[in-house]
């Protein structure tokens, strides 16, 4: 009986320990308001080489697999020819990949050139370590000039913003994350609203008045308010309009213009 009681006490103490530590950390983080702590920077820096290792290993495996698939088509050829084809094929794959990458980077670079804003190209090296948040990690950090709240875009539109700039990498909050909010307007009717992240690959536009002229397929662009995103960047397209009988605002479902599940490169717009 006494043993059972002491075990119960032990469990209670352990649970209290977890709760106290966690809530202390939560309160502490609320006080810091998103500035990276020493531990965050240290652990991100510690993991960075392993992340780049896994990233390049997967890339190489993909290349190898592509090479093998192509090689099976010439299995009738003699050994020398096979080797030659494999070599050329790998070179071709690499060149095609380079062309695609350059094309993507060129397309991305077009937009900021119009506004002459300083920008930097970055590659995605990882996703959020948890399941419930929509953030990605890029390979550029404060050493490359990135600062918190820098906007990130592709040629198709807004991706998100920097929420944490570590020396060699940064965390990007995607527009589909629940914590994301962007002041926006409809490109056609110019009515304002706020685009919030809705998880998965979706956003919702709120605070759009009932009188606003909105149609499915309307483009939504950034309004330039808030100071993070320049005016006129595409956010997404209206996919569904919900008008409740009793309510001040319409609720609008928005599909982001950028395919957030297949991000590879993005442009970070640096502050002026």
């Amino acid at each position: 009986m006494q043993k059972k009681n002491s075990k119960g006490k032990k469990f209670f103490t352990t649970l209290s320990f977890i709760l106290i530590i966690s809530f202390a950390l939560i309160s502490f983080s609320q006080k810091l308001r998103g500035n990276p702590t020493f531990f965050q920077s240290a652990i991100t820096t510690l993991i960075f080489p392993f992340q780049t290792f896994f990233d390049s290993a997967i890339q190489k495996t993909e290349d190898l697999f592509d090479g093998y698939i192509f090689l099976t088509n010439v299995s009738q050829e003699n050994e020398t020819l096979k080797k030659e084809i494999e070599k050329l094929q790998n070179q071709r794959n690499k060149l095609i990949e380079n062309i695609f990458q350059l094309q993507r980077e060129y397309n991305i670079l077009q937009r900021p050139m119009e506004s002459n804003r300083k920008s930097i190209m970055a590659s995605v090296i990882g996703k959020d370590s948890g399941q419930w948040l929509k953030t990605v990690i890029i390979d550029k950090g404060s050493e490359a000039g990135l600062v918190k709240n820098s906007a990130t875009v592709t040629d198709r539109g807004i991706v998100g913003q920097v929420i944490e700039a570590n020396p060699k990498s940064s965390k990007i909050l995607l527009i589909s994350d629940n914590r994301s909010a962007i002041d926006a307007i409809f490109q056609r009717s110019r009515y304002p609203g706020v685009v919030f992240g809705a998880g998965k690959q979706m956003c919702k536009m709120r605070f759009v008045s009932m009188e606003a002229d909105v149609k499915e397929g309307d483009k939504i662009i950034s309004s330039g308010m808030g100071g993070v995103f320049p005016k006129g960047l595409t956010i997404g397209t209206v996919s569904k309009i919900i008008k409740k009988k009793q309510g001040l605002f319409q609720e609008i479902e928005v599909v982001p213009n950028v395919d957030l599940s297949r991000l590879e490169e993005m442009l970070v717009l640096l502050p002026d």
């Binding site: 352990t14 939560i26 983080s29 991100t44 997967i58 996703k127 370590s129 399941q131 419930w132 297949r262």
Partner: protein, 171 residues
């Protein structure tokens, strides 16, 4: 030595989770390897050490994640605690009780995220996407656990000083 191996494994698991896993499984819902590690250590190690290591894993995940700091420390700590607590009542030497426990901790992980985020961000969280992805999340975790647990088991047996019994979590 064993703790060093655990530490290194956790670092590798996080690097794998954030970089390779999204490419291998191009799905919107991915398994949470950190949660599984936390659960495993809670189950396998001595009560306090297991829970402490699980909490530390959560702390690591908080450092890497862009969310509210402390949210993973809480959920992973509770996963480790539950594992340590449940093994006193349920024999964890076969697949069924393990599967049920992993389902419970996966559900709790989602619920804790939802509660803490709504409480501290004071913003309405879109529940649909969160709760729709929970079944897939649980399924992914169950599949991943069946791969990850034997790997850690094998690793720990290799580096442990004392000989260990075969795949059983009973202490």
């Amino acid at each position: 030595m064993l703790y060093l191996v655990y530490f290194f494994s956790i670092i590798l698991v996080f690097a794998f989770q954030t970089s390779a896993l999204p490419k291998i499984l191009p799905s919107d819902t991915l398994p949470d390897l950190a949660l599984l590690c936390a659960f495993y250590f809670g189950l396998k190690m001595k009560e306090q050490s297991g829970v402490a290591l699980a909490t530390l894993i959560g702390f690591f995940q908080d450092c890497l994640s862009g969310g509210i700091f402390g949210i993973n420390t809480l959920s992973k700590g509770i996963a480790g605690f539950l594992a340590a607590f449940l093994r006193s009542f349920v024999p964890m030497n076969n697949v069924f009780p393990l599967g049920v426990c992993i389902t419970i901790v996966s559900l709790l992980d989602g619920i804790i995220f939802y509660l803490i985020t709504s409480l501290f961000t004071k913003r309405e969280i879109v529940q649909d996407s969160l709760f729709h992805s929970l079944p897939t999340f649980i399924f992914m975790n169950l599949i991943s656990a069946s791969i990850l647990f034997p790997i850690i088991n094998k690793l720990s047996r290799k580096f442990e000083d004392k000989p260990q019994p075969t795949f059983t979590f009973d202490q």
